[in-house]
Amino acid sequence: MNNNLQNAKLEPLWHTNKFIFALIFFLVTLFFFFPFINPSNFQLHLMIMIFMYAVMAQSWNVIAGFSGQISLGHVIFFGIGGYTSSFFYVEYGITPWIGIFVGILFSSLVAIAIGIPMLRLSGHYFAIATLLIGFSFQTIFQRWDLIGAASGLWIPLNWDSPWLTLQFHESKIPYYYIFLIFFLLSYFSIWILYRSKIGFKLRAIRDDPQAAASLGIPVAKYKIIAFVISAIVMSPMGSLFAQYILVIEPERMFDIEISIIVLLIAVMGGVGNVWGPLIGTIILIPLSEYTRIFFGGTGGSVDLIIYGILIMLICIFRPSGLISFFPKKILERKKF
């Protein structure tokens, strides 16, 4: 056995970059102590939106960046999650905590039901089908009387047991921590996924499904797995959001704009990498929230004007996303 081979085997499988770990530790601590510096309601709302969209963009990243499928209708899992937990609370009084898991179950089932026929589609055909699915869900929910049709569901207000009913009226701080925990859990899970056998196989499928098949990877099975994982990550965000605003309707919960924003965030940040979605969120969501305040009225669309320009610029100049600005040394050749 020659020297080079021996040395190579002694290298650790994953390069742990102390700088990044320190940064993450620092950020997480910051997040935990943020409410203690007396932030305004708006600032708390902003952070909540950041956590929420960071998770949703990560969910989109799983199918696009880890298995190469581009979905333009990702909002459906958000809507299913939100409607499921709300419906079970409104109709049967079941606590949203359980509702979140029922929502995950339903979203997974939908992911499988949609994913299997979609296996035959690829590229543009797939993307267009997802677009149609998104709109179809909105149409169906707008006319489904069981869950309130176009007027949606109004979640009955409860002041007695906020933690049981997941409703907090006096302060946004509990919402903040709940979203924070889900955010940390989601990112940790995806980080583990990235470094797992499944992560490797998904990336193979993303880069070249035919070659992946020649290496014993059952492409169809893993595509569905990626779809389901993506749904599992996304669904709780819908459930939590429903509890946050307490009124949900099809136009909001199945809004194509959510699909669009999630996609733009992920692409801007950098698809295929665990931290890309977070970077995209940190830049775009504050932009969105602040322009909304600044411009008011029809200014509601100014953030999207800027988004549109930004995404076109990224596609032209930096298609691999903002994450590619980080020098290769810090990312340690994507082994992160």
């Binding site: 677009l131 709109f135 006319r143 733009l264 692409v267 698809v271 549109g308 596609c315 298609p319």
Partner: protein, 287 residues
């Protein structure tokens, strides 16, 4: 449910079908030429409708008369789109291409919302209004002529692409860019031409539709969806496929709305798309 009502629905479905076909043809042309799906196609339609509206509001030009102007506006828009955006993403991964035109669509739609508010506008008292009666069937005059103009434009487009010298140059570039270049065909100019042509088609449809359709920033979304379905159904790259698919979509929308439920129109079209595309992935006439 008399036979007349059904025939009425078939006719109106057919008429809308020709309009969808022309819009789809623009999309198909661009895709056939450079493999890019223009996700901003609906927004370009919206632009043409707003152009027609403003020309009417500010200059008093009737939509029929402003067709050449809106065609020019959209053609310029197409050329700009190619030279400022598309040119840079021709070799990029599909996800980048999709996001680029998607970004353009978001940009245009939001800009329209910002400049002109989400309010619904319409062109009141255009030259074409009222109803026609043909063999006992009533058809709206604007719809009828819009459809006719779209069909004629479609045929003209088909002739141009297949019989004219420039059209053949376009086809050559579409089939094999490098080979075409060795023949002296400047592919960059061909691409720009493709965009100009494709969007001009859209502008004809949009301008004629401003006679009878409401105009608002999101109006393009619905048509874009149907255009995507039409192109995929007909087969990416096939212009004839657009016509057939456009007609199918128009009929499905109309008859489905009549016989089942008007609020689920999108779903019927979606179902057709799914069925065709799953059992025949390349569409009806696609490569």
């Amino acid at each position: 449910m008399t036979i007349e009502i059904i025939i009425q629905a078939i006719i109106s479905g057919l008429l809308m079908g020709f309009i969808y076909a022309l819009i789809a043809a623009g999309l198909s042309l661009i895709f056939g030429l450079m493999g890019i799906v223009n996700f901003a196609h609906g927004e370009h339609l919206m632009l043409s409708m707003f152009s027609s509206f403003w020309l009417w509001t500010l200059l008093g030009l009737d939509p029929i008369i402003s067709i050449p102007i809106t065609m020019l506006i959209l053609a310029i828009s197409g050329i700009l789109t190619h030279y400022l955006l598309i040119r840079y993403i021709l070799k990029a991964k599909m996800i980048v291409q999709i996001c680029a035109t998607f970004g353009l669509s978001v940009f245009l739609r939001s800009l329209a919302q910002f400049l002109w508010t989400p309010d619904f506008r319409n062109v009141a008292n255009p030259l074409l209004e009222g109803r026609l009666e043909i063999a006992g069937i009533f058809i709206g005059q604007p719809q009828f002529y819009a459809s006719l103009v779209c069909l004629l434009s479609f045929l003209l487009l088909y002739l141009f692409v297949n019989k004219s010298e420039t059209g053949l140059a376009l086809q050559a570039t579409a089939q094999d860019r490098k080979a075409a270049e060795t023949l002296g065909i400047n592919s960059n100019k061909m691409f720009a031409l493709g965009w100009a042509l494709g969007l001009s088609c859209v502008s004809i449809a949009g301008t004629m539709m401003s006679n009878f359709f409401f105009i608002f920033p999101d109006v393009g979304v619905h048509f874009a969806l149907f255009a995507f379905v039409a192109v995929a159904l007909g087969g990416f790259g096939s212009i004839i496929g657009c016509l057939i698919a456009g007609i199918i979509i128009g009929l499905v929308e109309s008859l489905g709305g009549l016989l089942i439920d008007p609020s689920y129109k999108l779903l019927y079209v979606f179902l057709i798309y799914l069925i065709v595309v799953i059992y025949r992935p390349q569409g009806l006439f696609g490569r």
